[in-house]
Symmetry: C2
Subunit: 829 residues, 2 copies
């Protein structure tokens, strides 16, 4: 293994307590941020309160979340001081993303907002616009959305802040991800496991995550668990997560905010000093050739009142420090004088006249507490990762292909072939490409990559681990949590790098909801000019439904494709390469692409090679095509039936069925079509990859019955081809949720997707065949009964097990298919 | 709040160290269980090794997982001793479900297996069958599947063992869920957060979960995180989870197994003694009227070698204690003499001749170490929960309905109306019905239930909590983890109780993968005669896509329906009640049903009431129907167009469109169809609720264009009605992933599902209207431009905000719809 050496440039500065003047100015910045946050939630006019507050100044519909916001702005203000003092390279990840107003306010106060959106100027008019646009049609979302400068994390669906943070700092050794974890979010599963990310972080070659557990005590309508287990149990938990927690409690019982600032500045300095020390120690150890072990990273527990600085009580009910502060504590400020007055007092408690100058811009004494240029967390280039993105150096995939003398003459494990190429992708891109997976990278046959890299691991080692490709740094990230893999990869991509996620097909549903959010992020950023395109999120789903016969029903689910297809057409691509060379060509395309979610499904078992590399490239470029060598068309005549397939296993069955038909009904004009790019089946009005009607008919014939063997749930093919198939001539076979512990071929039979059933389908659907070939049809039905009865009648009879050729059905399929070309004398030309 | 008092009958017996004889016999039972496990994986003949082992005795295809198995059987043997000594009521939950052979072996040794499957007798022939059936077509799965007696947890998809365990013990105060958590599983998000379940458990009214963290150190190809953080950090973590961990390390460095048994018996006794003390203390406190606080529950860390008792080395590579033991360590026992000999030695190391009598049955001295009857963990009735299931006492929902003088004359918040009924369901079923939700029960307007019960909470309290309906015991379970809610509910249902899960529609995708597994469990149990039917898993999805305008795009996703529809038709039901009375009728049906996953989507905002209770019942019974009062049909004539709707918001739009058509094209014969039960759209060959062709045409007309406004992704309607719609006459509008922060009505317009667009669709699709009503069509298009431009051109202009009637579009919709009946003079009759 070659170890990459990073130059460490982590600033070694230690903290210097702020002067009273600094504290006062920092407090001013915080008040300004809070003022702007409250303004965004409530006001549509009179933004600087230069006239008495009137009901007409209050928005008719009040939206947003106040409760978490003042804590977020407090932390932001303090990080600003630290960044300036230490010249830190930091980004801010907002777990409670609904605290959007606070982050928008921060970026406005740092000038980033006006630089990004020039219409929102730093004056009274701009502030009015800032307020009115918030959560308004045509305005901005209430969350820390893609529209928010400095955000890589929307935070609407909770649970992914730490995973995103770790993804962001991998291979960014000088980057600090300051990450606020809400105590509501902390109850989610993905967040709960993401604390363990620190066992994977390398202190030398990766950056740093500083988690801040924001304990404000309440969710929408309930207290939070971590706020109610006592400090002792909480500290134990966080130490168990591998952190050294620093506790801060502030803002309760009328604490002077300046005192709170003074105390928190000390806490943050302590955390950052420890981090600097860890980084220095790591660099020293590396320089001395010593191993760099996992340190105990600091973190901060930040216990402050929910809705801090807001009204203490409203209508006699506690508001600050209660769940009542969660969203909009004063919902009828426009309707009652009492509430209007509460709002007025609240807003004026920040003393806007002291904070903003005559034009309405933040006074320099406060503005200067924030860093400038790229040191601003709202303007850190990593938060617009596309601007940093460099294309991968990709070795020529053609050189990694398998030789194919004729279709089906040989077999390969497609993912193992891909692994050979990925090995060299890894080697050529040692700082910008990672492979993520839930303990299945080897199981999915990608182990050639271990010739070039290790699995990154920073928990304890035992001597044998080194032989097993565990290393302190490496390009492969394995943890038994699909959530963690997905979150890390998203964070890695969002900060301008590349990667892929390999997983079992059935269990990728675990991240359905996460990938929804990522797809939505991509869709929205497509519409935001200043957001530069990101590398695509690439899935490699192996161990797929047709080869989970032995693991049984719980491991069989091809529905992730269906899930993804509900997302916008411009975001989603689905590929089903039928063999090794098409997989290589597909993945080369995926690793070059931008702004997509690419779902690639490919088997890891030996599978016939159908196409030479040149043919594979041509086929993948078209996305689907007629395999003339497999059919029996007569030039110049329409075929009588089209046998179509998508997916490696259905391709075998279709070719085997075509062979039976060629032998038994030699005068039948059969066309074989293979589909790699599933989106090609759509109408070109629906998807950029879609076919025109002419193109569709050119491939699938006109008015010809189509028997389609598909990898997944059959109805998806109907859905995709709906606009092309107005006369319902496409008949689809696929997985229909019939599974158990069985054999590969029985899996096909249970779902009526086997070769025999496909032949029956053809006989049933081509006019005139039903009567002529009733015998053949019966023969096919008998074959099925025979094959199934063999396994099932004998059940647990040892002689059945002995004589049952476990893999024979699959082997036979491959052998049959292999002779397709031989029989026709065809070659790849 | 009424507090339910439970009689505590937890056995107070404290542990008595086992005698040497007991240890020896327990060890014999363990050896037998291990022998049978290895036999299942490898052998198909010579099960008692009464002749020399021959290659022919070895299965040709070796499947299964050895690594975790000996630990599971060790724990099982010790629990058996404890159950007998203490008369415990226990079940065994196997987190590492792939250790199936061990659990099958245990139930065989306890006679449960032969009682359940009489063909698998307790003799040589039966043992041969036991071995050969394992992971063979027609045999049994390799996991702890529904086929396995004593299992409520398949464990194929990892992460849910503790959630299931807690769900099982809620309201089962005398039940102990002995729960083995694999260290691989422990890396998943759902498992990581499920440790916190103990903050919700009531020590008096609920049972006990005893977690055993099974640290065998390795996953498929990697070490596990928790095995590599050191005991100190691990202990800290577990204390942070609220547990008092007892550490056991055994089986390393050639430890005498009898010594290991002796030591572990002490550890288990210690854990069970502490539990008994906690239960006694809780009962004493309750008897004395003191509050019962959350105790620190014990747990066990069980560190043993992976593949314990298996071959130490194979081909010179460490096997016991390594990931190489994970699956089948000897893969070529049939092919090489060396490996055959290793297998022979391994099997004989258990000395089967000592364990089994001449017939092949386990000798009584060993068999008697297990409990009998219902005390057997493999035969605990809770593991076949349907046998314990009692129908809920359901108050007559008719009495909770809203008065509907005419369609649309009034509005209701449907979920709030449902909440009134649920309050009384809760009150009438104080021990067998729970409501689960991620902090949204009040937000989803179900808060009337708090008149009858509390939210169960056993973390710390502050005085205000009592006013906020937090209680030590209660029917509502709220935690901000959809995984946790789902897992608890599954465990609760699987052990014979009832419940519902209310959640935001968009974020229910978080449990896509979990509900997959539950649906698969139900499908398989339908085919297992001895498994009694369970109460259905009921979802109530509110805060749905059309009312997430303010939260924006990240909160908009109606795709859970699509996800569920991929599961088997006999399992899945989807209901879209259009108003309060239909929601009541639907939910009454759901709570009576068995073995389904019921997905009910219903809004929480004020929505017109369309149907009186009698009409609602009739409509829900049919599942879909013609709303004559809303259309303009001529008796005896086919309609010219059908306006169909499914979902509360699309129903408003369709009725508004119908009104426009009635006014503007009075001679057009319009039929309005509303669909409550989405599965009715399928063909009766596809779904038990499906329609015949005659029925379908009777409702949707023959050859009539259908304009269908649907709640979710439009293509689902095409998919469901595919077999009925061979001529593609159905035109569907729905959510097409166009969203942002906007208004309710703009949401509809962005997705072309608004009333104006529906009218345009009718004009475009009914022959002859296009030319005659080009003007009306243009008018509708102008209405849309006007409405959208208003919001978007003005953007963040305060005057726009002020004059924009935030809810007016929706209000107008309701008002318009409300006049539908008034205009026609129609009433409900």
């Amino acid at each position: 293994m070659t170890t990459t050496t990073y130059r460490t440039t982590w600033p070694a500065t230690t903290g210097r307590p702020p002067s009273e003047d600094e504290i006062v100015r920092l407090h001013g910045w915080w008040r300004a941020a809070n003022y702007l946050s409250v303004g965004q939630i409530y006001l549509m006019d009179n933004p600087l309160l230069r006239t008495p507050l009137d009901r007409e100044h209050v928005k008719p519909r009040l939206l947003g979340h106040w409760g978490t916001t003042p804590g977020l702005t407090f932390l932001y203000a303090h990080m600003n001081r630290a960044i300036r003092q230490r010249d830190l390279n930091a980004l801010y990840i907002t777990g409670p993303g609904h605290g959007g107003p606070g982050l928008v306010a921060a970026s406005y106060l740092e000038h980033t907002y006006s630089e990004t959106y020039p219409a929102v100027t730093e004056d009274e008019a701009g502030m009015r616009r800032l307020f009115t646009q918030f959560s308004f049609p045509g305005g901005i979302p209430s969350h820390v959305a893609p529209e928010t400068p400095g955000s890589i994390h929307e935070g609407g669906e909770l649970g992914y802040s730490l995973s995103h943070a770790y993804g962001a700092v991998f291979d960014n050794p000088d980057l600090l991800a300051f990450t606020v974890v809400g105590d509501g979010e902390a109850e989610t599963g993905p967040l709960a496991t993401s604390w363990h990310s620190n066992k994977f972080l390398n202190p030398l070659t990766d950056g740093v995550v500083l988690p801040v557990l924001h304990l404000n005590g309440y969710k929408i309508a309930n207290p939070t668990v971590l706020a109610r287990i006592g400090d002792e149990e909480l500290e134990s938990l966080l130490r168990g997560y591998g952190h050294d927690p620093l506790f801060f409690t502030g803002g309760f019982e009328g604490e002077d905010p300046l005192a709170a600032h003074r105390r928190f500045a000390g806490v943050l300095d302590e955390a950052l000093d420890r981090i600097a020390q860890i980084k220095t120690d790591a660099a020293d150890a590396a320089a001395a050739g010593r191993e760099v072990e996992r340190p105990t990273w600091p973190m901060i527990v930040f216990r402050t009142p929910k809705g801090w600085t807001g009204p203490k009580e409203i209508d006699g009910q506690q508001t600050e420090g209660s769940w009542r502060s969660h969203q909009v504590p004063l919902s009828s400020a426009r309707d009652t004088d009492e509430h209007l007055e509460v709002l007025d007092r609240w807003l004026r408690s920040y003393a806007p006249e002291e904070l903003f100058d005559d034009d309405g811009a933040l006074r320099e004494e406060f503005a200067s507490t924030a860093p400038s240029d790229a040191r601003r967390m709202s303007a850190n280039p990593v938060t617009n990762g596309g601007t940093l993105l460099k294309a991968l150096r990709l070795p020529d995939f053609r050189e990694y292909g398998v030789e194919v003398s004729r279709p089906g003459a040989s077999t390969s494990e497609a993912t193992r072939v891909l692994g050979g190429w990925l090995r060299d992708v890894v080697a050529a891109n040692p700082h910008s490409f990672r492979i993520f997976g839930p303990d299945e990278t080897a199981s999915n046959r990608l182990q050639p990559v271990y010739e070039a890299t290790d699995k990154q691991w920073n928990a304890q080692f035992v001597p044998q681990d080194r032989e097993e490709h565990l290393g302190r740094a490496g390009r492969v990230m394995e943890v038994l949590s699909e959530h963690q893999c997905q979150g890390w990869l998203e964070g890695y991509l969002l900060t301008g790098r590349h990667g892929l996620f390999n997983s079992y097909e059935a269990f990728i549903h675990i991240v359905d909801s996460m990938v929804n959010q990522h797809a939505k992020w991509l869709k929205v950023t497509n519409e935001i000019e200043w957001r530069a395109p990101l590398a695509s999120l690439n899935y490699l789903l192996s161990s797929h439904v047709w080869r989970q016969d032995h693991n049984g029903f719980s491991h069989q689910d091809p529905g992730f494709i269906d899930h993804m297809v509900n997302k916008k057409a411009e975001i989603v691509r689905v590929y089903l390469p039928p063999d090794a060379n098409t997989l290589l060509s597909t993945y080369d395309h995926c690793l070059r692409s931008r702004q997509y979610v690419n779902v690639v499904v490919a088997g890891k078992q030996p599978n016939p090679d159908w196409l030479s590399m040149d043919e594979a490239i041509a086929h993948c470029t078209r996305g689907l095509g007629i395999w003339e060598w497999a059919g029996t068309e007569t030039p110049g005549e329409e075929p009588q039936v089209v046998l179509a397939c998508a997916g490696d296993i259905p391709t075998i069955e279709v070719l085997a069925a075509a062979k039976i038909l060629r032998t038994r009904i030699p005068d039948l004009r059969v066309r074989v079509v293979n589909v790699v790019d599933l989106m090609r089946l759509q109408h070109d009005s629906e998807h950029p990859h879609g076919l025109s009607e002419e193109e569709f008919d050119g491939i699938f014939g006109q008015d010809v019955p189509v028997v389609f063997a598909y990898h997944g749930y059959p109805w998806l093919i109907h859905r995709l081809s709906y606009r092309h198939d107005r006369r319902s001539r496409i008949h689809v076979r696929g997985y229909k949720e019939e599974g158990t512990t069985t054999t590969p071929f029985d899996m096909l039979m249970r779902n009526d997707t086997d070769r025999f059933h496909l032949v029956m389908d053809v006989i049933d659907r081509v006019e005139g065949l039903g009567t002529r070939f009733a015998g053949l049809r019966q023969e096919m039905a008998d074959e099925r009964i025979h094959a199934r009865a063999f396994a099932y009648q004998h059940g647990a009879d040892p002689s059945a097990i002995a004589s049952w050729q476990w893999d024979d059905n699959a082997d036979q399929a491959e052998a049959d298919a292999g002779t397709v070309a031989a029989d026709t004398g065809g070659d790849n030309g």
